[in-house]
Amino acid sequence: MKKGATTTARISSAADDAQLIALAQAGNEQAFTVLVRRYEDVVFRFAFKVCRDRDKAEEAWQDTFVNVFRKLNQFDGKSKFSTWLYTIVTNNCLMKRRKRKLDDAIVPLELPDGFRDEPMQDSNGRPIQTIASWKETPLHSVMDTELRHTLDRAIEKLPYDYRIVFLLRDVEGNSAEETAKILHLSVPAVKSRLRRARVFLRERLNEYMTS
């Protein structure tokens, strides 16, 4: 790395990704540090949710930024930097995982039994509800141990290929196209896995959320 670039000017933390990447590609260490700072939490939280293990997530996190450092010159700016980053961290998480039997399972699209073709009606012609409503859950209730365990158990049972799609798309907020790019899948394949993942998780939370 060239020494001069780091000392000439302080890099604003408001600099956009493209500026930081260009500087870091030219060997500016400070620009690289700002880039790490900007994405370190996103990458770690995601790795933790995928790996479901703190140590593995930290290793995957470190490997990811080492890869970014070494391969930054290969980033061509055609996709978003975050998309490139998710691709690297996803691969690193994949390498850390111990493959389980259930990861080969295909998740069916299971709708709850309460669905009929049309809602049943009472004697006054009013529809009868056969799909129970979920109880109100303010977001801070995610801190409740019981709910967290329910969420943990459900997502741990979700086969890895579906879990990763759910996390990238619904939790991280990547678009279907970005998710497809990260996982080298077609957009319809992403959508199909996402639907199945949502239904799978919903079914496993249902008992807790209606009791």
Binding site: E58, V66, F115, P119, Q129, V142, I155, V199, M209
Partner: protein, 94 residues
């Protein structure tokens, strides 16, 4: 879509696929009308939305300071290494 009467199962599959996209398209008007009058499909849609909301809110721990330090040590080290290997290869050529 308007001529055919929509069945709950179709609605359920559709709202599941399009949880956050396309629900405002013209094609979805029939579905939205159905949702207004069908307690089952409305309840199902809400439960799917809540599922996503809960996993989004699920807290993850913070990265340890030790790990952050370790990253920059590895990077500094690998930076030196590549500089040295560049020097070596240059001196070999020369």
């Amino acid at each position: 879509m308007s001529a055919k009467k929509l069945k709950c199962r179709e609605i359920a599959e559709h709202v599941c696929a399009e949880l956050d996209e396309g629900m405002n398209s013209a094609k979805c008007r029939a579905i939205r009308r159905h949702l207004e009058t069908c307690p089952n499909c409305a309840s199902y849609l809400n439960s799917l939305k809540t599922t996503v909301k809960l996993y989004r809110a699920y807290p993850a721990p913070a990265l340890s300071a030790r790990r952050r330090k370790a990253l920059f040590e590895v990077i500094r080290h690998s930076g030196k290494e590549s500089a040295e290997s560049r020097k070596k290869s240059q001196s070999k050529c020369g």
